[in-house]
Symmetry: C2
Subunit: 127 residues, 2 copies
Amino acid sequence: MMFTYMCRTCGCSFRSRDFGNVERFIEPCILLLLSKDSSHGYGLMEDLEKHCGEKVDIGDFHRTLRRMERDGWVKSDWEKNEAGADRRVYTITQEGKEFLKSAANSLIRTDKLIHKFLEGFQKSQSV
Amino acid sequence: MMFTYMCRTCGCSFRSRDFGNVERFIEPCILLLLSKDSSHGYGLMEDLEKHCGEKVDIGDFHRTLRRMERDGWVKSDWEKNEAGADRRVYTITQEGKEFLKSAANSLIRTDKLIHKFLEGFQKSQSV
DNA sequence: CATATATATATGATGTTTACATACATGTGT
DNA sequence: ACACATGTATGTAAACATCATATATATATG
């Protein structure tokens, strides 16, 4: 999620990330989907765009899945695919389920911080 | 905000960031404070820990303020200080006020994404 | 059959952000 | 003289994100 700004002095455009990104938000989103059913990377994409509301970079996405396996949240097995290239099918682990729970708790805390900020902001705007 | 994990293979402990951080959340928090009154870095700390709820690294914090000035959200002036080292006093700019508004809007959107996730998660847990 | 397209996974290069340590300067209290 | 509080700043390394590109297979189309 990048943002294009305009430089105030020379008028050149520069890029910066949009604001409000939750770091690695994609991970609990993936785990929530996998907690319902095992799936493969490419197939998770469509569901993710529905659930996360954001476009996902496919390269980054696969790298994220490999890291999640390294971290123990998921495991993978290759599956033969008649209709195209073979698939690596990901399954959530017990540790992944526990991480999903703790991530949900962290997100509740994050949500409170955001609310606290928005409350203060709205108060300042209504003056 | 770091988190200590235990490695599953060798038992060593490794550190990773806690989950749920909003990237550069500190920036709109600073701007919200400065929209009420100009202040200097060190002095903003106490208020920030109240408003952001998290500890702030002072080195990182000053670097953030310098970047925010470079980006045009704030401007600074040196102020003589009888009771210690001189202070760099930051004031919000018009552009900073506009960024604060757009950041608030982004955070409303972020909040919706988190809610969508938490709803799905709670549904999956109640089965 | 050559080419394009959809499905599918992976990596290289680069820049940004964060964490932690450390440096530097001034004034106060003992 | 020394510790401590106040105050700002930088060096370094790891983690993270972005964008481009590589690789492979199956299907559709001219």
